[in-house]
């Protein structure tokens, strides 16, 4: 027992000693679901955010040539770890702003119980729940990913324009799938479409044949899947193809993954379409893609662009605010409000000069322009993709 107490005390002391930071660094928190249900997606997101940090440091650093340091926290995609990681970032590491957390539940809890009271600005690259818009946040909660509301509606309008008027909808039962599915249904039915089947499914099951049979019984030949293409969405797609339940398939951005092409073969996916966000200024997206590929990342990884943009914008805002934590959120709006000299992904040296000169800048990110609305949300730009060879190819822009 005594030994144990000594060990515990040593741990505590050690942690205290190590918590003292070198004051010259400017710290930002990167909170992500490193462990937990999105563990497969999180590393790419964190790497792309760290790319932004690295670019800042390689191009003159932040403020007076100081180093921008990213502190990584594991929000594990649940509120318990999300608040824990945020508390550590805010209180122990003294971060100026936070990129993350990744999952909506973590964002809501961390924002409500930690960052809003502490006045720290957070930018979530992947919290898509519409509930985040409604937070009473003193303008400190932003996101670079559009609320699910936008994409579902845009996809519904596009399908109707393409004369698909009767569909069945299958969605993964989480905030992502549900948010998309509901906004899709709303818009689709509101504009005269017919939903012939609408059902949630749980992730990671071995078989979805009964779900599919149920959905197919409505008589639609098009299945809309809001799920992840490297998870249960793939299983669903495979089983629907094998058993011929549907002929046409449409997915949300989660389905635009390499996994279906690799697993099912491009020749079987000729009737598969998927919507996904695209960067408005494609040169910014290219610049990011090139830089990210150089450090061994996959630029097409889901939420990689939004994570990168979130980190880069946070750095810009800190520069603009002169490192003052309280001014970061106001500066964040200033650096990307559609007016001023355009700054593209990675153009840190140019941005730093302009900010020093007092010129207005406008960040055009890899994932879009990111002109925040009054709730801190961004509208998305989407395109409809089809499978072509081993890749996805844009069919049409969707609004």
């Amino acid at each position: 027992m005594n030994k144990f107490r000594t060990a515990l005390a040593a741990t505590l002391l050690g942690a205290t000693a190590m918590a003292a930071p070198a004051q010259a660094d400017v710290k930002i928190g990167l909170l992500g679901g490193v462990s937990g249900p999105i563990a497969a997606m999180a590393p790419a997101m964190i790497d792309s955010a760290r790319l932004a940090v690295q670019q800042v440091n390689d191009n003159g650093g932040i403020l007076d040539g100081e180093k921008l340091v990213a502190v990584i926290g594991d929000s594990a995609c649940n509120p318990q770890n999300g608040t824990d990681a945020a508390t550590k970032a805010v209180n122990i590491e003294n971060v100026v702003g936070i990129v993350g957390p990744h999952c909506s539940g973590s964002v809501l809890a961390a924002a409500n119980s930690v960052t809003i009271p502490a006045g720290v600005t957070i930018i979530s690259p992947s919290g898509t729940s519409p509930e985040i818009s409604g937070l009473n946040d003193n303008d400190t909660v932003f996101r670079t990913v559009p609320s699910d509301d936008f994409q579902g509606r845009a996809l519904a309008r596009t399908l109707l324009l393409r004369d698909t008027a009767k569909v069945a909808v299958a969605y993964l039962n989480n905030d992502y799938g549900k948010g998309l599915a509901e906004s899709f249904r709303d818009e689709f039915e509101g504009n005269g479409g017919e939903i012939a089947g609408f059902a949630a499914h749980e992730g990671e099951k071995a078989s979805y044949r009964s779900n599919l049979a149920e959905l197919a019984s409505g008589g639609a030949d098009t299945l809309v899947i809001f799920d992840y293409g490297d998870g249960s969405g793939l299983t669903m797609l495979r089983q629907a193809l094998e058993n011929g339940f549907f002929t046409n398939f449409v997915g949300g951005d989660g389905m635009k993954s390499d996994a279906p092409i690799k697993e099912l073969g491009a020749e079987n996916l000729t009737t598969f379409l998927s919507s996904a966000p695209v960067g408005e200024k494609s040169d910014s997206l290219e610049m990011f893609g090139k830089a990210f590929a150089e450090i061994g990342g996959d630029p097409a990884a889901i939420f990689a662009t939004t994570s990168y943009d979130a980190a880069f914008m946070l750095a810009l805002a800190i520069e603009k605010a002169g490192g003052d934590k309280a001014k970061v959120s106001a500066s964040l709006r200033e650096i990307s409000n559609g007016e001023g000299e355009p700054i593209r992904a990675g153009e840190w040296a140019k941005a730093k000069e302009l900010i020093a000169a007092g010129t207005a800048i406008d960040y055009k990110g890899a994932a879009g322009d990111h002109n925040f609305d009054d709730k801190g949300d961004v509208p998305g730009t989407y395109a409809l993709f089809k499978v072509s060879g081993d890749n996805f190819e844009v069919v049409t822009e969707i609004q």
């Binding site: 027992m1 144990f4 515990l8 741990t11 505590l12 050690g14 942690a15 205290t16 190590m18 918590a19 003292a20 490193v34 462990s35 999180a42 590393p43 964190i46 760290r50 990584i72 926290g73 594991d74 594990a76 995609c77 649940n78 509120p79 318990q80 608040t83 824990d84 990681a85 508390t87 550590k88 805010v90 209180n91 122990i92 003294n94 999952c103 909506s104 539940g105 973590s106 809501l108 809890a109 409500n112 119980s113 930690v114 009271p117 502490a118 006045g119 729940s129 519409p130 509930e131 409604g134 937070l135 009473n136 039962n173 989480n174 905030d175 799938g177 549900k178 948010g179 949630a200 749980e202």
Partner: protein, 318 residues
């Protein structure tokens, strides 16, 4: 600034420890004193959290409530709801012996989780409930956390005293008798099924209260919070490590596991940046390793259950 930050972090951890200590105490009544293997803690935690959320949050469209009631009513409601849910479950499942009961309760907790995740009208399904009031939530950050800590600590203290008293009473000895030798207890004329049901309901009500305190602390509750890993098995680890059958052990276990889990991240952050992401997995491994070591070298937990007569027990606890 440094010390304020550390103090803030310590207060935050203390709040979490108090909340999880309620879950652990609830489990201790069920497993530690009565021998009921409840693997569905997350279910009762969720019922409590959502009941209080629905009762106290402002009116919202598209789901039940919010009724905007005072927070204490929400907390009492959470206990009542968790107890009410526990009653039929206990009625049905408690006829099973240990491992069968575990399977049944896992199933029940999953049912509760899926209902919460799917039923819009009841819980706003996957999006969860926001705008839950936190007592003294309008104060500045530090004071608001301190005030909440004072509340949860006093709730925990009262719960602890009540459980201690109940366990020291003849009821507690009867429960241990049922746990250790059910047939003998029955031969002595004890109504075993009824007593086990009692323990199951008491424990579940405490878990519901823990859930409510959690929801109000975060001002929001989403289905992600009731993942079995973090709301069931973590509590088990805490109780086994601390010492089942001993209330102080139950609370100590929570403190030890939570502090190690949370603080280990600060330690792993000192590793070079290449390992920063990988290091996060180490923490999960650490908890597992800790449980293995405790089970191997100290299976009775850090603070074992006191043995012997009443007089010896009070002697030992001093």
């Amino acid at each position: 600034m440094e010390w304020i930050g550390l103090a803030n972090y310590a207060v935050f951890m203390a709040i979490f420890i108090c909340i999880y200590a309620l879950l652990s105490l609830g489990l201790n009544i069920q497993w530690g004193f009565t021998g009921l293997f409840n693997a569905g803690i997350a279910g009762f935690f969720a019922v409590g959290a959502y009941t209080s959320a629905v009762l106290t949050s402002p009116a919202a469209e598209g789901r039940l409530g919010g009724f905007d009631l005072p927070v204490p009513i929400g907390w009492i409601g959470a206990m009542v709801a968790a107890a009410l849910i526990a009653w039929p479950i206990g009625k049905i499942c408690l006829r099973f012996r240990s491992d069968y009961l575990a399977i049944a309760t896992i199933g029940v907790a999953e049912i509760i989780r899926l209902v919460i995740k799917s039923e819009d009208w009841l819980t706003n399904s996957a999006r969860g409930i926001t705008d839950i009031p936190r007592p003294f939530g309008d104060l500045p950050y530090v004071y608001s956390q301190l005030a909440y800590l004072a509340i949860v600590a006093s709730v925990l203290f009262v719960a602890y005293l009540m459980v201690e008293r109940q366990i020291a009473a003849p009821w507690g000895r009867m429960m241990r008798a049922i746990r250790d030798n059910e047939d003998a207890a029955r031969a002595m004329g004890k109504d075993v099924p009824f007593r086990r049901l009692e323990a199951f309901i008491f424990g579940s009500a405490l878990m519901g209260l823990g859930g409510a305190l959690f929801a109000h602390f975060n001002r929001t509750i989403t289905p992600e919070a009731i993942d079995p890993m973090i709301a069931t098995f973590l509590v088990w680890i805490m109780l086994i490590l601390g010492g089942s059958g001993n209330n102080r052990g139950a609370i100590l276990g929570v403190a030890v596991v939570w502090i190690i889990w949370s603080m280990s991240e600060i330690v792993t952050d000192q590793l070079p940046h290449e390992y920063a992401v990988k290091a996060k997995y180490m923490r999960v491994f650490l908890i597992g390793l800790m449980l293995q070591l405790v089970l191997r070298f100290r299976p009775e937990g850090l603070l074992p259950e006191p043995q012997g007569t009443r007089a010896e027990m009070s002697e030992k606890s001093k």
